[in-house]
């Protein structure tokens, strides 16, 4: 045991000790008061981020609508920002975004759902413990690598079957985006299906149903809210995906349904404008924010919707 008194204690050492203790206590007390406040500041940083995004997008978008009528922006089918007589219709970008996301969900929806059924209903514990992490690794592949893959491999491959396919087109990035969001849909749907209680499966099996019948008629309907939410989140992810489309879908602002043609998405337009060094203050520069605002609002709505579906239809077992 060391002495509780400070070294070289004199006659007034007890008083020193008390003062020392009191100082310690006040220090502790201050710490206990200020640390929660500091942590609260850190936690509110996320709120500031949202507010920051909103203020920036809104103020610059308002600047844009001073130059371009809001009606023209949302109903125009021609986007020619750099032409002598510039036109700012967002619909070609909306079309490109919807078509590529549509292709992606057509690929990822069924495959992701089937993979989820396999993982949750059929796979043995061991198979599952290998398959699931492998799928998660797939989710870790950077989108730039997917973009490279789409542009240098998938497009040339598809062109062997579809000769009319352009070098940049919306089909190939759509397919690759589908592969990209398979793990997300599979994993979220599987979570929803695994939370269906075992008793419901046992009841179904007791009536003589096969695993397939149990999965299709009992488990999937019971987990439907979670499955739909995973689809909505997958689409939202595809809407916001940038690098795959920026590389493989080209920059033609086509207003068409033809998936063999080059189309531009909202995200790819943002990349094009920011890489082109549009002079700050020009209408092209502000159009960047109007497009970003549209993208932000759309994905935010989708995410809120997914949350709402997951909450509203969550079965109470």
């Amino acid at each position: 045991m060391t002495s509780p008194f400070p070294a070289g204690s004199s006659s007034n050492s007890i008083r020193d000790l008390i003062r020392h203790n009191q100082n310690q206590k006040t220090f502790r007390k201050t710490l206990e008061t200020y640390i929660p406040r500091f942590l609260f500041l850190l936690a509110s940083l996320s709120v500031f981020t949202t507010v920051g995004i909103l203020i920036i997008l809104m103020t610059e978008t308002i600047e844009f609508f001073k130059a371009v009528p809001i009606i023209e922006f949302f109903t125009g089918t021609v986007l020619k920002p750099l032409s002598q007589t510039p036109e700012y219709g967002i619909l070609p970008l909306v079309m490109g975004t919807l078509v590529s996301s549509g292709i992606a969900i057509l690929v990822a929806g069924p495959i992701g759902l089937m993979a989820a059924i396999y993982l949750s209903e059929y796979a043995s514990k061991r198979v599952r413990s290998i398959l699931k992490p492998s799928l998660e690794l797939l989710a870790g592949v950077p989108t730039i690598v997917y973009g490279f893959f789409a542009f240098t491999f998938v497009t040339p491959l598809l062109r062997q079957w579809i000769p009319s396919l352009e070098a940049t087109n919306i089909l190939s990035p759509g397919l690759v985006m589908g592969v990209m969001i398979i793990p997300m849909i599979a994993s979220l749907s599987e979570d929803a299906m695994r939370s269906v209680p075992e008793a419901m499966r046992e009841g179904s099996a007791a009536l003589g149903a096969t695993k397939l019948e149990t999965a299709v008629k009992v488990v999937v309907p019971a987990a439907l809210s979670g499955i739909i939410a995973s689809f909505v989140l997958g689409i939202s992810r595809a809407l916001g995906e940038t690098m795959i489309v920026a590389i493989a879908s080209g920059s033609s602002k086509n207003f068409t349904f033809d998936i063999t043609e080059s189309m531009q998405t909202m995200t790819a337009y943002i990349v094009e404008v920011t890489s082109g060094d549009a002079a700050a203050g020009s209408t092209v520069y502000y159009s960047l924010y109007a497009v970003a605002m549209t993208l932000f609002a759309t994905t935010l709505l989708m995410n809120l919707l997914a949350g709402k579906i997951a909450r509203k239809f969550r079965e109470v077992y």
């Binding site: 502790r28 206990e32 929660p36 500091f38 942590l39 609260f40 936690a43 940083l45 996320s46 709120v47 981020t49 949202t50 995004i53 997008l57 495959i111 993979a115 059924i117 396999y118 209903e121 059929y122 796979a123 992490p133 799928l135 690794l137 797939l138 870790g140 592949v141 950077p142 989108t143 730039i144 690598v145 997917y146 973009g147 490279f148 893959f149 240098t152 491999f153 398979i182 003589g208 096969t210 695993k211 397939l212 989140l233 939202s236 809407l239 995906e241 940038t242 690098m243 920026a246 590389i247 943002i270 990349v271 920011t274 890489s275 060094d277 960047l288 924010y289 993208l295 994905t299 995410n303």
Partner: protein
């Protein structure tokens, strides 16, 4: 007759069992499909880039002639980027999680912050790029330097870190905290010396996954105006920098014109993928090991 169909004729049972078995194969194939595509992707990238992967490539500077081009600048850029992202996300991420899990009373403010974090996680990364461009690059006048890129990517991955840290804190048994209180520990003492150390492995797992996301991000950096070619190497957080995804992006764009650029992009992709697989693999391994104990 109530039933219109014989439920148990032998042929029908045989059909149902066959359907079940076929479904198992089909669904199993679907589960393997993604992995198969990843296999094709890996084989393709390896065959394109492996011959170009040399020590000179790893240590070389960016060059316009493909034979001389290297990625050292991008590797250093990633290092400096992490020097910003790691401290910022760890302090803000863990701090926010501690506040939300251990200090905030369940009420409106907490729900509000929590919903907000959930929604931020779904904001497309390119929107963060626009935030970074407007605030860090232009308004604060940093320019396209490491600090601007690091702060932008930190904001991008913060929701992931916070949610992971919250789950980690929630999984700490409450008895541990109670024991500390019983010994007279104050709230912050308990958090600092009991709860945080126990939750740390799980927090780190989430943080590693988030960091690997930051290392692979391209879209926000394109928007920030991060260059692909970099002659002087970055030496600090106020220097201009580049990272591997940016080099892959520019090499891919030029691959249609100069075939060798495709090889460079593939070789750089191999380096990026190996680093990310090591990071993600170790995080998944850590998590499995940790969740088995709990």
């Amino acid at each position: 007759m109530l039933h219109t169909r014989q439920p148990s004729s032998p042929s029908r049972i045989r059909y149902r069992l066959l359907a079940d078995r076929s479904a198992k194969i089909l669904f199993g194939a679907a589960a393997l499909f993604g992995i198969l595509i990843m296999g094709i992707l890996l084989v393709r990238i390896t065959s394109e880039g492996l011959n170009w992967l040399s020590l000179d490539f790893l240590t070389g500077r960016f060059s316009t002639s493909p034979e001389k081009a290297g990625i050292m600048g991008a590797v250093l850029g990633t290092f400096w980027l992490l020097a910003v992202v790691v401290p910022v996300t760890m302090v803000v991420g863990i701090g926010s999680a501690v506040y939300l899990e251990l200090y905030s009373k369940s009420g409106r403010i907490r729900t509000f912050i929590q919903t907000n974090i959930g929604n931020l996680a779904g904001v497309p990364s390119i929107v963060y790029g626009i935030l970074g461009l407007t605030v860090f690059v232009r308004a604060l006048g940093f320019g396209s330097v490491v600090l601007a890129g690091g702060l932008t990517l930190s904001l991008l991955i913060l929701p992931i870190v916070i949610v992971a840290a919250q789950e980690a804190l929630r999984s700490v048994p409450s008895q541990l905290g109670d024991a500390s209180y019983a010994l007279g520990g104050s709230k912050w003492q308990t958090i600092q010396s009991v709860i945080l150390p126990v939750a740390l492995p799980a927090i780190l797992t989430g943080a590693i996954l988030a960091l690997s996301r930051a290392i692979g991000e391209t879209a926000p950096l394109v928007v920030l105006g991060i260059p692909a070619l970099l002659i002087p190497f970055p030496g600090g957080i106020l220097d201009r920098f580049t990272v591997l995804p940016m080099q892959i992006y520019y090499w891919t764009l030029d691959a249609a014109l100069v075939a060798d650029y495709a090889h460079l992009a593939a070789a750089a992709s191999i380096v990026l993928l190996i680093s990310l697989f090591i990071l993600n693999g170790s995080a998944i391994y850590l998590r499995n090991k940790y969740s088995m104990k709990a």
